[in-house]
């Protein structure tokens, strides 16, 4: 699985307007809906569900990244997007540090294998310090898309 296939390019938000966790989640779900990756009528449900999920335990895995996610029956196809915040957002992360890169993953219900495979892919990349750093520095949608595709090409697996 290539990350550039998983991440829905047009929905990437290079500079998040929201400054708090719930706002960021809403902004990303809205962006996915605006670009046809999530049904518009599901925005509220999906955003609420992602926030509820976050309240059960933060997806701020540390090192400036968070991976909020939802599994919901109103989602027919797995999709994901990326939001970047230059100010940093409080996600109650594991290391308490602010989050600069948010990877938001939306999965259909009853597809746990696919969900875990996507998570594996996302974290395989986020593991690399350079990838995290460049992602944080990429200040346009195009730059982020290019970075994803370069990372895919350098992935030997």
């Amino acid at each position: 699985m290539r990350l550039s296939d998983l991440i829905h390019g047009p929905s990437i938000v290079a500079e998040l307007q929201a400054t708090d966790r719930n706002g960021v989640i809403r902004e990303l779900v809205q962006s996915l809906a605006d670009h046809g990756a999530v049904p518009p009528e599901s925005v509220e449900t999906v955003a609420r569900s992602a926030i509820a999920r976050e309240n059960q335990g933060s997806t701020g895995f540390g090192k400036g990244v968070a991976v909020p996610h939802v599994k919901h029956e109103c989602l027919k196809k797995m999709t994901a997007t990326i939001g970047r915040s230059s100010h940093g957002v409080d996600f109650a992360a594991l290391d308490r540090a602010p989050v600069y890169t948010v990877v938001m993953l939306m999965s259909p219900a009853n597809a746990p294998e696919e969900h875990l495979a996507a998570m594996e892919r996302i974290f395989r990349y986020l593991q690399r310090e350079n990838f995290r750093r460049f992602l944080r520095q990429a200040d346009s949608r195009e730059a982020i898309i290019e970075l994803l595709s370069e990372a895919d090409d350098s992935q030997t697996e």
């Binding site: 335990g57 997806t59 540390g62 594991l94 875990l116 998570m119 594996e120 593991q127």
Partner: protein
């Protein structure tokens, strides 16, 4: 064997010579509670919950692991994946452990046996949650 020279009066019969002598696999498997920093414990556990080892279970795993001094590595035996650091949430997400996968939990350190036991209980309980 040089072990007799180590002069530790508290050495018990069951204790295994360390540092110069690799702990045999069959003894590790029984996770004998060795009382030194080289103590090791290994357990294989099956993922029972339907959603597999997703983010929340990983966070619970990290939470339990971090209560112990020992180092712990985890490997998805079913997928023959790499060994990852059981105290790193990011690395644990690489296991891609779906329902039915067998994890090999390997701890090394003073509280290795207790750590492996606690982690095995957590996994076997389905991470104390539904799904």
């Amino acid at each position: 064997m040089r072990n007799a020279e180590c002069g530790n009066t508290r050495t018990k019969r069951a204790q295994v010579p360390h540092s110069e002598f690799p702990i045999p696999h069959f003894i590790r498997e029984r996770h004998v509670g060795l009382s030194d920093a080289q103590a090791q414990a290994v357990r294989e556990v099956k993922i029972g919950n339907t959603e597999g080892l997703h983010a929340r279970p990983v966070m619970r795993f990290i939470d339990v692991a971090s209560r112990f001094q020992s180092n712990v590595s985890v490997m998805n035996v079913t997928r023959r994946g790499e060994k990852v650091d059981g105290k790193s949430a990011m690395q644990m997400m690489l296991l891609e452990a779906t329902q039915g996968c067998v994890l090999r939990i390997e701890a090394r350190g003073s509280d290795a046996a207790a750590m492996v036991e606690a982690l095995a209980v957590l996994v076997e309980s389905g991470f104390h949650q539904h799904g």
